[in-house]
């Protein structure tokens, strides 16, 4: 049994006091503990941004890579060792901006990676430019006339791509967030968990309060396997923002379809230098 203490980090978070990343960090640790996963059994791959600093503030295998490239690293890591739980932690800029192409194709592959996007609807680390999820009209130093592009809807996008698991959480509702994290981890298939995460410093529009006034938990009767209903639900935003599992399906995962790793993870397979040498000698 691993406990919360096992997940203690040696590092002090460099986040702003009150940042929505703190409750997410706390919740992820709790979820892992409750699922009885030890730190060395999980690999967190992250990119660059405030969200992506997360693995440093807990204890786990960590590949903190480049801005936008979280999913390819996670994909490679998981293909090489599919006994490892691989979680990709990124920001909205990282995942939906710089890394948008990888998101599309990770979903298509249905690699069994868990993607947690800290969606603060802003570029935090670079001091407040619009992100793909920023709302139209929001004024920033770069978007001096307000954001002109339509706000990206990650849930609708994922459903259109038939993503295996699509959910939304809120950093201000950690109890539910924990359930969603656990569900995402336990689901077999690529799982997107978009987490509404207030940035108290740069996003003065989408604050804790703003979200609190709008988010609701999806009703238990809801059937997340109905793609059309899921698509409809994913379009809600203005006044009511659904949180919960919006869509899921049971597509087979990539790891199981590749003959070379069907039986044993790649990293556990030996290499017989002798055979290859013989083969070469006999050419």
């Amino acid at each position: 049994m691993s406990g919360l203490d096992d997940y203690k980090s040696t590092q002090k978070p460099a986040w702003c006091p009150g940042c929505g990343n703190f409750p997410i960090l706390k919740t992820i640790k709790e979820a892992l503990v409750e699922l009885d996963i030890a730190p060395h059994q999980v690999l967190i791959v992250s990119g660059i941004g405030q969200a992506s600093k997360l693995p440093h503030y807990m204890k786990c295998n960590t590949f903190n890579g480049l801005h936008g490239r979280t999913l390819p690293v996670a994909t490679g890591a998981r293909l090489a060792n599919h006994e490892m739980l691989v979680i990709a932690v990124t920001g909205d800029g990282d995942c939906y901006g710089e890394g948008g192409n990888h998101l599309i194709h990770a979903i298509r592959r249905n690699i069994n990676v868990k993607l947690f996007v800290h969606n603060n609807q802003i570029y935090g680390l670079t001091k407040g430019q619009a992100s793909p999820t920023s709302m139209e009209g929001m004024v920033t130093k770069v978007q001096t006339f307000g954001v002109l592009s339509e706000q990206l809807n990650p849930l609708a996008l994922a459903i259109a791509l038939d993503c295996s698991f699509v959910a939304r959480g809120f950093a201000g509702d950690t109890e539910y967030l924990k359930e969603l994290m656990k569900a995402a981890i336990q689901h077999k298939g690529f799982s997107l968990l978009d987490i509404l995460q207030p940035c108290v410093t740069f996003n003065k529009l989408n604050t804790f309060d703003w979200y609190r006034q709008r988010v609701y938990r999806i009703e238990p009767e809801y059937n997340p396997e109905d793609r059309i209903e899921a698509f409809k639900r994913s379009l809600e935003w203005e006044d009511r923002i659904p949180t919960g599992i919006v869509y899921k399906n049971n597509r087979p995962i990539l790891e199981e379809k590749i003959p070379a790793i069907k039986d044993t993870p790649l990293v556990k397979q030996g290499f017989d230098f002798r055979t290859v040498k013989d083969l070469i000698n006999k050419l």
Binding site: L66, G76, K277
Partner: protein
């Protein structure tokens, strides 16, 4: 005995099959073979050719004069007939081309008619042509027949039979009709040779190094590596993943490498451009990776199916920040095999990116070898795994060590976590901001490693006299053609040597080669590019300045004749 054969035609006419089969027949018969290809960036039409040299002593470049031309289209006649040697013959099918040419050097063979009549199918016309060439060379048909059986086995007896008949028809036609044919490739009693091109050699090198993961995005001339590894994926337990783009390709490979397997990616210049940020990531996180970079004429899309050595300074200097890397530029398929193996070894030993730079010319060119010595291959698993990892009391991914190299642990194999970061980090792998640790990390990652890494690099190959008056210098795929030029010069009574760089970065420590260059009267740097990249690198690294240079940048490979002209020497 030294013949050159050229098969010319449109894309999609199957000239590559004819060429491949002939090269195989010759090498199986124990001859020395060299072949190269020239093709356009299209799937049908245009004009392509495939050129084979077959001889009884080693050959490693193409000549400009041709003994047998197989012309599948009009362009082949127009473009190549003047390349015929005095005794040269061009064969064509006047019925198909609807053109009858009255030239004593031309032999009209009804490929298609014979294919229908004998092979039972017009599709066997190319087999007729192949048989005809074998006939012209006075070889016997047995090897070709064996090849046909092997190739078409899966398609059933009728197809095998048809092709064998077609081959025989062409064979007999040329034997009977080619009165001028004076070639003779009597069955040699020699042992069959290994016929291998650059791509196959790189793949063999990867297999021999325990490569387990290959992610890439298709791009000429590197696509063959992915195709070939994919065809062997099940047998050798390799995961081959086609990435959505080159950025994903390199990042996937890094993820796999971090997880504990040997990983590789491959691309061409334009795709490599997209990998530059990932290259720097490998440098910072000290994650081993092997990258095969197939140069092609640029800038941008350039001449996508042709050859150039235009990326040397690019691959050596690209990426932000400073970290060690290894760059190899094999000159032959044999070197490609051993250097790919060395790249995997050094990448893991020093936890750095290792690059194999090649080009379309090396990729597609086939060479023959007697055999490969597998004892020259190395395999050492440098990773910290299983119980060795478990036994440690503590683990820090980037701990300071005397050599700068920290054992590379496999995540999950023990309770210690493995942490790395693209930010500057501490020994554990966590982000830092302070100056003292930054300096120590740079010292570890860069200076300490570089010191030992430099010692791993072999001196350039010297071929020829130890006190040469003329030195022809080159790197990468020009090995064969420069070597043959040196032979030719020496035959003409000159005192020439070749200096060839294949382990090119870190640049070989100034040694004997510099002295030779300083003492030679004529030092020529020969490069398949416009801006004299090796010459520049040489000057930066050693201060030496070449007196002469020969550069070619039209997308075509050098020939001995071309270099001799550049030297103002008659061939």
């Amino acid at each position: 005995m030294d013949y050159s054969i050229k098969i010319g035609g449109e894309a999609g006419q199957g000239l590559q099959t004819i060429g491949d089969v002939l090269a195989q027949v010759f090498s199986k018969a124990g001859y020395h073979v060299f072949s190269h290809q020239d093709y356009e960036s299209r799937i049908r039409g245009g004009h392509n050719f495939y050129q084979i040299r077959v001889a009884d002593s080693p050959v490693m470049s193409s000549r400009e004069r041709i003994d047998v031309i197989v012309a599948l289209d009009h362009a082949s006649i127009k473009l190549h007939k003047n390349e015929l040697t005095k005794q040269g013959i061009l064969i064509y099918d006047s019925e198909t081309l609807k053109e009858n040419i009255d030239d004593p050097a031309f032999l009209d063979i009804p490929f298609k008619r014979l294919a229908i009549e004998e092979g039972g199918n017009p599709i066997t016309a190319n087999t007729v042509a192949t048989g005809a060439v074998i006939g012209m060379l006075n070889m016997d048909l047995s090897i070709l027949n064996d090849l046909i059986k092997e190739t078409f086995k899966k398609k059933g007896d009728a197809v095998v039979e048809g092709n064998i008949k077609a081959a025989k028809a062409g064979y007999e036609y040329s034997k009977n009709k080619c009165l001028k044919c004076s070639f003779s490739l009597e069955q040699s009693s020699k042992k069959p040779k290994i016929l291998i091109n650059g791509i196959e050699a790189i793949v063999l090198g990867a297999l021999a190094s325990g490569c387990k993961f290959y992610s890439a995005y298709p791009m000429t001339p590197s696509t063959g590596i992915m195709n070939s590894l994919a065809s062997k994926a099940e047998e050798f337990g390799i995961v081959v993943e086609q990435a959505e783009d080159e950025i994903a390709a390199i990042n996937m490979a890094l993820g796999a490498s971090f997880s504990g397997v040997r990983a590789m990616t491959g691309t061409s210049g334009g795709g490599f451009a997209l990998m530059v940020e990932g290259l720097s990531l490998a440098g910072m996180t000290e994650t081993p990776i092997v990258i095969a970079e197939g140069q092609r004429p640029g800038p941008a899309t350039g001449l996508p199916t042709r050859t150039e050595q235009g990326d040397l300074l690019f691959v050596i200097h690209t990426a932000h920040g400073e970290f060690p890397r290894v760059v190899f530029a094999p000159g032959t398929p044999q070197q490609a095999l051993y250097l790919t193996n060395k790249a995997f070894d050094l990448a893991e030993k020093y936890q750095i990116p290792a690059l194999i730079v090649f080009d379309q010319y090396l990729a597609d060119s086939q060479w023959t070898f007697e055999n490969f010595n597998s004892d020259k291959l190395v395999y050492k698993d440098y990773r910290l795994r299983g119980k060795n990892f478990k036994a440690l009391k503590e683990y820090k991914r980037h701990a300071f060590t005397p050599t700068g190299v920290t054992p590379l642990a496999v995540p999950g194999d023990s309770e210690h976590v493995v942490v790395t970061d693209s930010d500057e980090h501490d020994e554990e792998g966590h982000i830092i901001e302070d100056a003292p640790r930054r300096i120590k990390m740079t010292d570890k990652r860069l200076f300490k490693k570089l010191q030992n890494l430099k010692k791993e690099i072999s001196q350039p190959t010297l071929y020829g006299s130890n006190k040469p008056e003329i030195i022809l210098t080159g790197w990468g795929s020009t090995y064969g053609v420069i070597k043959e030029t040196v032979d030719e010069l020496n035959r003409q009574g000159k005192n020439a040597s070749m200096l060839h760089f294949s382990e090119i970065y870190p640049f070989p420590e100034s040694g004997n080669y510099l002295q030779l260059l300083n003492n030679a009267g004529m030092t020529v740097c020969i490069e398949n590019n416009a801006t004299r990249q090796l010459a520049k690198l040489m000057r930066a690294e050693t201060g030496f300045k070449f007196k002469q240079r020969i550069n070619r940048f039209d997308g075509r490979p050098f020939t001995v004749d071309y270099i001799l002209r550049g030297l103002n020497v008659r061939s």
